[in-house]
């Protein structure tokens, strides 16, 4: 992870909005973008679609999206839709 990472805390109640903000950050980010999922207990289909979009956007840039504090239930959801390989994870 680079030293000048952008850090975005994802609100568990407003995950889609948080991911939208992350997408906007990708355009200007110099280094990694860290999304802190510590307060997210569960994600819904809209959030998952937003994550797919985010991953797609990040693929086209040199920015690495790092997910921090992802609980194992959400990690399994990401695994099932084959998104884990498109993000980095931080405990």
């Amino acid at each position: 992870m680079t030293m000048n990472a952008e850090w975005i805390e994802i609100d568990g109640e407003r995950v889609v909005q948080g991911l939208q903000a992350a997408r906007e950050t990708l355009d200007t980010a110099q280094g990694d973008v860290v999304l802190d999922f510590s307060s997210v207990r569960r994600i819904d289909p809209n959030a998952l679609r937003a994550m797919e979009k985010l991953a797609g956007l990040a693929d086209g840039k040199t920015v690495k999206v790092v997910l921090r504090g992802v609980n194992v239930d959400i990690y399994k959801v990401l695994k099932l839709v084959k998104l884990t390989s498109r993000f980095s994870f931080l405990a």
Partner: protein, 882 residues
Amino acid sequence: MAETVASLSEERIAYLEGLVSQARIAAAVFTQYTQEDVDRIVKPMVLAGLEQAQYLARLAIEETRLGVVEDKALKNMVATEFVYNYIKDKRTVGAIREFPERGVVEVAEPIGVIFSLTPITNPTSTVLFKCIMAIKTRNAVIFSPHPSAGHCCYEAVRIMYEAAVKHGAPEGVFTCLESQTLQDNAYLMRHKDVGLIDATGGPGMVKAAYSSGKPALGVGPGNTPVYLEKTADLNMAVVDIITSKTFDNGTICASEQTVVIDDEIYDSVLQKFSELGAHICNEKETELLGRTVIDPKTGYMQPMAVGQKATDIARMVGLSVKPKTKLLIAPIQGVGPEHPLSVEKLFPVLAVYRAKSVNEALTVCVDVNHAGGIGHTAVIFSRNDEIIQKFGEVMNAGRIIVNSPGSIGALGGVYNDMVPTFSFGCGTGGGNSTTDNVNVYNYLNIKRVARRTQAHMWFRVPNQIYFNMNAVENVRHFPSRSTIIITNPAMEQIGHVDTVRRHIPPETLVHVSVIPDAEPEVKVVMQGVEALNFYKADQIIALGGGSVIDAAKIMKLKYESPEADLEELAAPFLDLRKRVIQYPTEKVAQARLIAISTTSGTGSEVTPFAVLTDKEHGRKVTLADYSLSPDVAIVDPQFVMSMPKGLTADTGIDCLTHALEAGVSIFASPYTDSNAMQAIRMVFKFLPIAYEHPQDEEARTMMHNAACIAAIAFSNAAVGVNHALAHAFGARFGVAHGRANALMLPHVIAFNAGVPTKFMPSPNQRGYIAHKKYAMVADLLGLGGQTIDEKVKNLVAATEQLLDRLAIPRSIADLGISKEEFERAMPDLVKIAFDDPSWRSNPRMPLLSELGELFWSAYRGRSLPTVAKAPQPQTAEEWSCV
């Protein structure tokens, strides 16, 4: 199939991919839901289905033109209310079942995306059922209804979806192809993200599902035979059959197709059918009916007849029937292409057959069952339990319905306590992996979390053991009318037989049977059994070493259970508790076995083993069972005071080997350890004294006891690789068992104390502890050493020193066996040692190559350095390793 997929347009593929993507996301999100979340969603779905039951029934009838609206509504209600009643308290998320006594917990894992095909005959009820099941199990479903039932199914899916999402289900959890083609189905069946195909419908669709390479629940056609047996309640039977066969105009595939009726009741049954609204066809009408409703080319029913009323079918055929006729009954004389009406008919036409005997009736039912209905459903009406049982055995049907309507009975939960379903598993006969009434558990991957369990172990010893000098006097406490003393010539010559006889009560008839001093042969054993029978013995006294006592054990076995097959009883086994062969428990005679040992080594007086030589076939037969253990053991040192020095040494080391091997065995327990450790201590202290001072009574007593105590240990913990090597080597080169053990012992200790190349599965132990056990022995003997490694080396050295003191040859080479001769024997030695069961309780699994290395180590002899003795405190920590 590949061609049909290839013909899909890009636009269509994008559409189908969209459906799968939606379902895949929903299924992934669904994995986060708890049981409570799921149950909160299911209930309102069920209520929505109940509320719309009639609406959906009307839609189905309007669209498909099949069946009866009232019955379709009823089916919708069963598919919701009855299914809910069954599943509402079922756990389908997380831990779903626990078996604490087995340490097993079953944990549910959703399948993910299910591709579900639904039929024209039961369109909406099947959709309702599958939606409820899917939500209960956290799965997403893509529905593909029958093309002629697309709209009503779409509506059913919509109603379920709205209720589900409103109460928290993930968006996209259900999708439905409103119009579909075979190409769509083929594409979705093979899609990588589809986890399961649930195909309820016609044979073509089911076959396609199975051919897709995906796991599939395929429910195919039936052809339900019914046996109406003469003891049946005929009024009930006739009403049940009419109810079932006319239900939704016969569209349920479990409905009755051919009723086989006993001759005695045939006419009255037909009369009752007629009275209740059935039309009994005459021969000409039957022929006409068969020609019209069954396709003569394919032999299958004509689609135009499916789900139609009896009067409409009569009109199609040109039969004249009463206006309210419910059912057309066609008598047939057989099953097969010559009798077209013997196949499945999903409309109210029922074939009947007159059977002259139970056997004929059952045979015809088997024919019907095999004429397109294997694995599906069969029905019997009878009060005769034997016939019901027989029917259940000969029918190949997932559901065998007794004294109830076939169609509604098979659905479960109405006429019986079967699992409610709208999807009948037909087993392998129907090309299906299950015979279940498909329900929630078929929509789950069930994982088993199995905790390590500790197997029950045992500690068994003979009922009574008398020990110390003159213990033989206790023989007088055992009343006997007729006693046989089994012994060898030496015991008679020395006068030991007379010693024993003196203590037998005077009223006892005593016969002495002298056998050769060698491993018992079959012939010798059978002569002994003859003597036991002749004297009607109620007591056997075995006086001698291991061979005599072993012979007596087998004589007792054959005397009490003449049918016992020694060869069968010697069958190999891995675990005594799970062995295939059981020793006889029924006895035609009974005799007490008192074993008096005259050597201090084998411990046969307390062991459950006996070895027999089968000279005829040139082999040894080893028997092992606790029923072989003597009833009474007498460990009286007066019988060993005159043992020669060499025998004292060899048998003493045999005893030490028993104790050391039991100590490190994978079956060792605190119970066996206490005996093994005590025996080791006694051997190290008293064997040199008994060897050097044969008349030392204390040493002889302690060694005699040590042999018995070590035998108690290995009777319960078994021996190890040392014995496997010694058996092979001793037999090949004619070396006494104890001496052969001695040659191997230091090398085996070193081998077991090393890090195993291959660990032996040992569920009763936590980690590898053999080296620690040896270290514990070293501590017990006060051998010193700072580390486990040093202690093990000191134990090896102490063993070497003991062997030296006993003047036992220290290598196989010392026996005068040339290297070339040994090399020639090596392949056989390794093979025989590997076949020997003894090593299976050894802590370290020996590889074939390692067995060879051990033999060569023993050939070369001592090679381990002696570690200087150093004082070592025996700490609690060191002892805690066991």
